[in-house]
Amino acid sequence: MTTAQRLPDPYGNGGGANLADILERVLDKGIVIAGDIRINLLDIELLTIKLRLVVASVDKAKEMGIDWWETDPQLSSRAGRDELARENAELRAHVAELENARGEVTAGGRESAQTSQKTEKEAQG
């Protein structure tokens, strides 16, 4: 369907749209189709903000409270997803740690039980 309908003059995106407006739509709102070259764009938004923060002063940003994307899953579904991914990774690492530790504990436990038995025998003997 073609549209020869005259539209009002562009506001903001005739080259004057701020980068955030363009990135917001092009990176985050267009339809997602997995092409042959696959990259995970989910991390990109946070990445750009981090980069921009390096350019601006990080302290000033912190002062303005600009770290919501790091901390507040309520504000952004992506932050929520990142949060989940992060929690997942942390939990997995934690579980692995626990399992290792338990392995050591049971091994160590047996050892110390044996030594205590030994010392008991020695004491009795």
Partner: protein, 260 residues
């Protein structure tokens, strides 16, 4: 065409040609790949920039990302003048034409349905900011000088009272801003077929002064767009201390998904 295929958008066939001097990503003019009832708008991009490794590296470079996003939007913009495209996300890349064709074939039904929903419509973005004022953050506010009663501000009780008043003022200001945004969104929704409320924009990235309170997108028929823009213009001065910003017309980025 050799090299990789960067896909900008999927459309219905459109009669009006794109501007001859139009260029997109990598400075390459976009071409139409017609397949059945659909057209993919594609550009050839160099492998050394768009294969997985280099692409990942490029995406960490904000300047490259910004330029590429603008080039992508440039093509989508030109398409929006002649048709109502379904815009794809940045960096949707295929090895060759046949990859693009089989993608079109696989998703044909969904594409046609979505294009019908978006046909003859554009997206408008409306943002509300609270204008930056001194002492927006009560925590950062310094106590005011001595009150008229002649007592110095040094008294602890006065200081606490001032802090409380400042906090109350900023809470009230916040409530007024939210109330204004809610009413604006309600009246604009009357002109729109669909709406989306996006997360507030990060001012570190947008460099826009003040704090972004409302960041909304409206799917508006082209025929209603003039009225929509006038309505936004009329409300602009309704709220002192607040700034209303309009962007558009965009392709229907915010409404391209199936979840409507």
């Amino acid at each position: 065409m050799s090299g990789l295929r960067y896909v900008y958008a999927v459309c219905r066939p459109f009669g009006t040609p794109l501007p001859a001097q139009l260029t997109g990503v990598a400075g390459v003019p976009p071409k139409q790949l017609v397949h059945g009832e659909l057209v993919a708008v594609v550009g050839q991009v160099p492998e050394e920039d768009f294969a997985e490794g280099p692409l990942r590296a490029h995406l960490e470079d904000l300047d490259w990302l910004g330029a590429t996003a603008r080039a992508h939007q440039n093509v989508i913009d030109a398409l929006t003048v002649v048709t109502s495209p379904l815009p794809l996300r940045l960096a949707t890349v295929f090895r060759d034409d046949s990859g693009v064709r089989s993608m079109l074939e696989e998703r044909e039904e969904t594409f046609l349905r979505t294009l019908d929903r978006l046909g003859g419509r554009v997206e408008w973005g409306v943002k509300v900011y609270s204008e930056p004022t001194e002492a927006t953050e009560p925590a950062e506010a310094s106590p005011k000088p001595a009150s008229a009663s002649g007592r110095t501000a040094g008294s602890g009780r006065d200081y606490l009272r001032q802090r409380r008043n400042q906090r109350r003022e900023s809470e009230e200001k916040w409530e007024r801003a939210e109330e204004f945004s809610r009413r604006l969104h309600e009246s604009l929704s009357g002109y729109a077929e669909d709406t989306r409320i996006h997360a507030p924009q990060n001012s570190a990235l947008s460099r826009a002064p003040g704090r972004n309170i409302l960041n909304a997108a409206y799917l508006v028929p082209r025929t209603e767009s003039e009225a929509f823009v006038e309505l936004v213009d009329r409300t602009k001065d309704d709220a002192p201390g607040l700034r209303v910003e309009l962007t558009g017309p965009w392709a229907a980025y915010s409404f391209s998904g199936e979840d409507t």
